[in-house]
Structure formats: C-alpha cells, structure tokens
Symmetry: C2
C-alpha cells in the first residue's frame, strides 16, 4: 500500500503546514484511526439519478463508502466512509445566495483536494458567496462523525463530532463536538464542546463543561476516540457491515411516497409512514416514523416514535424517546433515553445541535421549547431550555452557561424557516403529485459500487473514474 | 426509454444494411427477445485488478451484466448480460500472432460499436493479424449464448449458441449452433448446426441433421428461441437472479489456490479442488471439481465429477457425467446424462465443440477418443467418435456425417497444445508460487457494479464512464 501511505503523508504535511502557528499536528489522530486493511474491505457507492447533474471525477484517492448525487471531484484525498450528498447544488445561472449580481457561471460542484475525511458528511451547497461554484474542502482533516454543511474549508482540522455549518473556515482547529455557524473564521482555535452561532442579527453561545464532554468524547492513550457517544456509534458498526451483503431491501413495507435508502439499516418493528425519507447509513430499530418525518445520514432512531414532520438531522441519535409533531433534532444531538427513563418532547421543540440528554430519570420537555447543552437530570432543564415565546421577546438572555444577544424573534423565525425548508426539500408535504422532494425522487436512484485495488502498488487506492451523462 | 429504442433501431438498420444481399433482417429476433423492463433490473459488473491494463470507456450504451478485465471500449451498443473477458489481451510491443514484423503499437483493446450482444462471451485476444490492436465487433448482432473468440466481426449475425473462433468474419450469417474456425470469411451464410474447422494443414466438417437440431434449438411463432438446449439454460435463469443478492460468497470451502467467481452460482454438495477456476456465470450443482479443472463462463456442471485437469469450455453443459483426467469439453457441448443413463468419459478425450450427447441409455466413451455431433444412443458412438490414435494416422477420414482431410497428427497435436495452453493460463499447474494463472490471480479482483438510469429520457442506458488506473 505504498502509494496509499504516501498519499496520507502528503495530506498530513499539508494540514500541519496550514496549522503551524498553533504547533498543531494531525499525525497522531490520523495514524491512530487509519486501519489500512479496513480500506480494502469496503465498497464505495455512488448514486446516479436523472434528477441530478452528473459528473463524478476521482483521481489518486481512496473513496471508500462514499455517496455522491451531484457533481463531485475528488483528487488526492481519502474520503473514508463518507457521504458527500450534493443533491441541492446550485445550477449554472442560479444566483449565489440570492444575490442578483452573482449568477453562477457553471453548475456548482463539490471539490475535495488533499484532504482526509473520516465518516464525514458534506452536504448541500456552498454558502461561501466568494466561490459560489465550488463547495470545496482543501488541505483539511475532518475527524469521525464530523459534519460539513455548505462550508468552504481550507487548511483546517475538524474534531470528532464537530459540525461547521453554512460558513467558511481557513486555517482553523475546531474542537471535538463543537458546532459553529459564524459566517467566516480565519486562524482560530475553537474549544471542544462549543456551540456558537453568530449572525448580524443575533449571537448564541454555549460551551459544554469539559468534565462532562470528557465522559462522552475523549481519547485513549493511543489517540483513539472513545467515550459514551463515540462508543455508542462504534458499537453499531458491525450491524452496518451486513447492509453490504444485500442489494435489495428486505420485507419492510414502504409507502409509495417514501424512500428507504438501500444503505440504511432497518431492524425490529420499524414502521415507515407516508412522505418519509430514510437516508443512507441511518439506523432504525423499533422506530416509528410518522408522516413527513426523516432520518438523515448517520442518524440513529432506536425504540422511539416520531409523530410526524419531525427532522432527525445528520448524526442525531434518538433513543427511547417520544416526539410530538414538528420537532427539529439538530446535528449530532444525543437523546439517550432509557426504558425506565424515557424522553418525551412536546410538539414544536427545537433541540439545538450537539445537545446531550442523558438522565436516569424520565425527561419531559414541554411544547415549543428550545433545548441546548447537557441535560443529565430533569432539574437541568431549568438551565438548558427556554420557551420559544420567551426567546422571541428577548434581546439579551443568559441562562446557565448559555448567552444570547440580538433579535430573539429573528432567531426563532430563522429556525422555523430552516425546518420548513428541510421538510419541503425532503418531500414531507408531498400530495397528489405536488411538492415532490427527496422522499419521492430518491426512489429511482441507481446505486453503483466500486472497490479499491486489492493488490499491487495501488492497493487501497481506487482507479481514476470519470462519469457523466 | 426513447433513447434506448433509438439505439436499438440504429443497430438493426446497420446490421440489415451489411446483410442486404441475403435479404436478411435481424429485426424479428431482436424485437422478440428484447424486454426493456429487464434492461432496468440488472447491474453491470466490471472487474478491476492490478494484473490487467485498465481502461474502460462506455458511451451511449446499455452494458447490463458485463464483465471486463482488460481495456474495453463500448460505444452505442447493447451488451446485454455479456462477458467480455479481455484477460489475455496483448500488450504494446507484443508480436501479432508471433510475427516479428508486427509489434503492437499500443495495448490491445476490445471495441464494441453499434452492436447488440445477447449473453455473448467475447474472449481472449484478436487473431486477426491485420488489426492486432483491436479485438472488434462492429455493426453486428450476436444472439443468445453465442461465443466470439478472438474474432473480428463486421456486419454479421451470429445465431443462437453459435461460436466463431480465432478468425474474422465480414457480412456473414452464422446459423444457430454452428461452430466456425476458418481463418477468414466474407459474405457467407453458414447453415445451422455446422461444425467447420479449416486450416492450411487440415479440414474438419460436420453438419448436425436439421431434424435433430430442431429438437434442441428452434424458434416459436413469436421468433423466440426454444428447444431442449435453450430451455435447459433458460430454466436456470431464476437461480442466477439471486447471485446478485449477495456480495460475499457463501460457506463453500475454497482452497487458497483456487478461485470461485463471486458471480458464479454454487449449489448442492459441490467440492472445489486445488488450482480450480470457476468463472462468472458458471453454474455448479453437486459438482466435484478435481485438481486443475475449470468451469468457464456460462457452463453448467450438474451431478458430475471432473477428476482433474478437465476443461469445461465456454457454454458447455455437463450433466450426470463422470470425466476422467485431461478431458476437453469444448464450447457449447451438451452432455445431457440422466441418473439412469449417465455418461462416462475416459481420460484424454476431446469432446468437440457443439457436441450433443443425449441418450436414454448409459454412454461410455473410451479413453483418448475424439467425439463430435449427436449421440442419441450408444450405437451412435460408431458414427460420431474415433480413437485419437486412428485420427493421428489419417490423411482422409469419413465417419458418419463427418469428413476429415489433412494431417491428422497435427490436428490432434493442435488440440493438445490448446488444452495445455488453457490449463496453464488458468493456473492448473500452479505449485509453490510457480505457474500462477487465473485461478490464483483472479482472487484479488475487485468487482464493481453499475446500474442504468432508472428514469428519465436516458432510462435503460448507462452513464458515460471512463476508468483508468
């Protein structure tokens, strides 16, 4: 695997060079979690539909376990078990972020160059108005279960379970389990467990206490990630291995208006309602998915009921929970209910990204509340949630470790609009041929597989591939 | 599927134009057997190894169920459930047919253009000294279960179960179940059931009586192929559907020196010896494969034992038969033994291409015999076999409907050399790291799948794909 190791070394050198001012080295993380034998076991998958502009181009890379729906170029990178779901890429002539003076001169594409992505979801379209045609990641390492949403990334390291959302970052270190949505960031180090949203109209900030974070995500002496959250996901890995054994979906009854991705894992008495979207690598076990609900990539829904129009955003885990209607469980949240201590969430709630609920007593969240941070017992709700009606009327708000300033109403309205946008795109409102979305369109996806070279000097790398209509 | 149908029409027009002097039209055959819905169900597969020069390029085609090991270009064609096994293609600098003045100026490649191939195997390398870099098929239709071995084909129609071997053909109609190896053929119509080998040194000719052929291969009122032989193969189709359900091979014990292709079908108490090669779409049910034996593409070995170093050439069927060592069962032979009427073949026998053995009584073929034509009872052996020792000494020989002239010894030696070459290439003689062949090398093959567009105007066609190292 000589050429493969050369590739990895080259990526490490480039990322280290970008982060030299912090004396930050990605070597230990990459070397601890890169198992070259694993690289040979997996298939990369890529989807072909008639609904997405097709152009895939891969050179000099390992693209194990990927998934591409739009135009995507991967060069000299390791894209390991990743999802690059470019299914909302802008087209030539579309306006960048709605700005009339900035029509796209070509179809938007995803570009990954000199980067190492571990089980990382790259989603949607670029929010960088300066390079509207390119949703790019260059010279970067994104650790396990990180999410990159519409982000430009250059010379960065994203920690385990980190999410960067609708922004661009250059030469930054984003700590484990941090959530960022701050427009632009140059040469910054973000502390692990940070949740930071910064817009012209408002600012939201919270940091998970480090002694709590350490229980959920930490590293062992060999630099391998571990902790309750990492171990939960890691413990389900073996289940996923078997989805590659079958091309066809089992005997699950799926309404004609819903899609269950062939690379999702469905167990137990799971029920799929109308207009439901189950994305690849979603894990459902005894899950009841009400009308218009979805389980996005890398989500887990176990012994839980989603009443309807509920969103399980990338990487969220919902266990022993009952959700009312219209609930948004944002990225990488961990709702760890137990049989004897279930979680109940009232309709209209917003569970912010990277929220952990893990209590030995039942947790009941009233309707229309915003929830964030860590809830280890019912009493923590006092310092980690607020009624949306209160937030709407706030200009300054400080509860527990959370501080908010700006226009509370705009903050809530922004979430409402996002939730509506996601449901609409996912086909939750489909009816009699109208309001089609992913739940209806993804059914006709052709899924193709490709394997790396099994032997020879290029072992572990994939052939160069170019695919167009 | 508008574009797909346009493609089919274009191919039909081109082949008809090439065969206009015979007023021969391929429309009826193609239209009777082309089920567009089937075209959507299958995956094309292509293999990637480090041992074969990689360059695959497909445009404007349906490539369902294919298999490519060397350089292969498919343009504006339907390659339906076919194997194009270019694993012995010549390399740049190799000499065309050993001629010193004809070194190849580039790696040899397979080229399929404006052609419709049904379940057709294209194998090995070009024997056309005039175009040594191209093993090409242009403007041609090859019907079900036909074999094209090292042949240049231009403007031809090959009938059902027809085989053309190591030659080139231009504007020819080759009848069903005919076997041809005659160097070159221009503007000819070959009668169904013909077995014709013509070299400078010898000539072999046999024609299966048409009333017998009709029992094995014929067409119904709708122009669909039928008959005992066609129905036998067609009846196993449903079994093959399930091989696409599993990526991994089951619990069969496979020696480290043998390969069982992931797209072969293994049933019953099948045993695989050392140095055995089971190719894709081989069907084994209660088969005992002795050391160094092989089952090539589209072969069937059912309730039979191959003692060792036995070759089952493309499309041969061996049922309720016991084979001694070193037996060559050539292309598309049909050894239809029954439990109460088994077939026993002594060591060193050569079963010529397109031989049918189908008797209600047991058939015993002594060692070192050549067998051809139709054997419907033990008494037919008198008119359809000869001891190799007799043939070696013959210059003219006429037995039953068979006529031979030329150097009998060279004829037998030619077969012996071919048999040795096949065993050698297949790795039958592998021992302690030496004499590697397909049985050893094909283990490390990465197999990739691709599907056609499921919806939209390109429904039934595949994306354009280009793959290189």
């Amino acid at each position: 695997m000589k050429q493969f190791f050369l590739l990895v070394e080259r990526i490490i050198s480039r990322v280290n060079a970008s982060l030299r001012e912090y004396d930050f080295h990605v070597d230990a993380y990459i070397n601890a979690v890169t198992d070259p034998r694993k690289m040979l076991e997996y298939y990369a998958t890529y989807a072909v539909t008639s609904k997405h502009p097709l152009r895939l181009h891969f050179t000099g890379s390992n693209i194990a376990g990927s998934y591409f729906l739009g135009k995507c170029y991967v060069h000299d990178s390791v894209v390991y078990k990743s999802d690059l779901r470019g299914d909302e890429l802008k087209r030539k002539g579309d306006l960048a972020m709605g700005v009339k003076q900035l029509p796209l001169t070509e179809d938007e594409f995803i570009l990954i160059r000199n980067s190492f992505l571990f089980r990382t979801l790259i989603h949607s379209r670029s929010h960088n108005i300066e390079t509207p045609e390119e949703l790019f990641v260059r010279n970067s390492v994104a650790a396990h279960y990180s999410n990159i949403h519409g982000s430009t990334l250059e010379g960065c390291y994203l920690g385990v379970f980190a999410t960067v959302d609708q922004m661009s970052l250059h030469s930054c270190v984003v700590g484990d389990f941090s959530y960022l949505q701050v427009d632009k960031l140059f040469h910054h180090v973000i502390k692990p467990g940070t949740v930071w949203i910064e817009k012209d109209e408002f600012s939201f900030h919270y940091t998970l206490p480090s002694e709590i974070l350490r229980r959920y995500i930490t590293f062992d002496a060999d630099h391998r990630p571990t902790g309750i959250l990492f171990d939960f996901v890691d413990g389900k890995k073996a289940d996923f291995d078997r989805i590659y054994d079958n091309i066809k979906i089992g005997k699950l009854r799926i309404p004609a208006t819903s899609t269950v991705n062939r690379f999702s894992l469905i167990k137990g008495r799971t029920k799929i309602g109308e207009n439901v979207l189950i994305s690849q690598r979603a894990y459902l076990d005894n899950a009841e998915m009400g009308r218009g609900s979805n389980a996005q990539e890398n989500t887990f829904i176990v012994h839980s009921k989603l009443t309807g129009y509920d969103i399980t955003a990338h990487g969220a885990k919902i266990i022993h929970s009952q959700l009312g209607e219209n609930i948004f469980v944002a990225f990488n949240s961990f709702l760890n209910g137990k049989p004897e201590a279930p979680i109940s969430i009232g309709k209209g709630c917003i569970i912010m990204a990277h929220t952990i609920i893990d209590s030995d007593e039942a947790i009941n969240i009233p309707e229309d509340h915003l929830v964030w941070g860590f809830i280890g017992s019912p009493s923590d709700l006092a310092t980690n949630s607020v009624a949306l009606s209160v937030l709407r009327q706030s200009r300054e708000l400080s509860i527990g470790d959370m501080t908010f300033s700006g226009d509370g109403n705009l903050f809530v309205e922004g979430y409402r609009a996002t939730i509506h946008h996601i449901l609409e795109h996912n086909g939750a409102f489909y009816s009699r041929g109208k309001n089609r979305g992913h739940a209806q369109d993804h059914q006709s996806t052709a899924i193709n597989t490709i394997q790396p070279y099994h032997i020879g000097p290029r072992q572990g790398l994939y052939p160069s591939i170019s695919i167009e209509p």
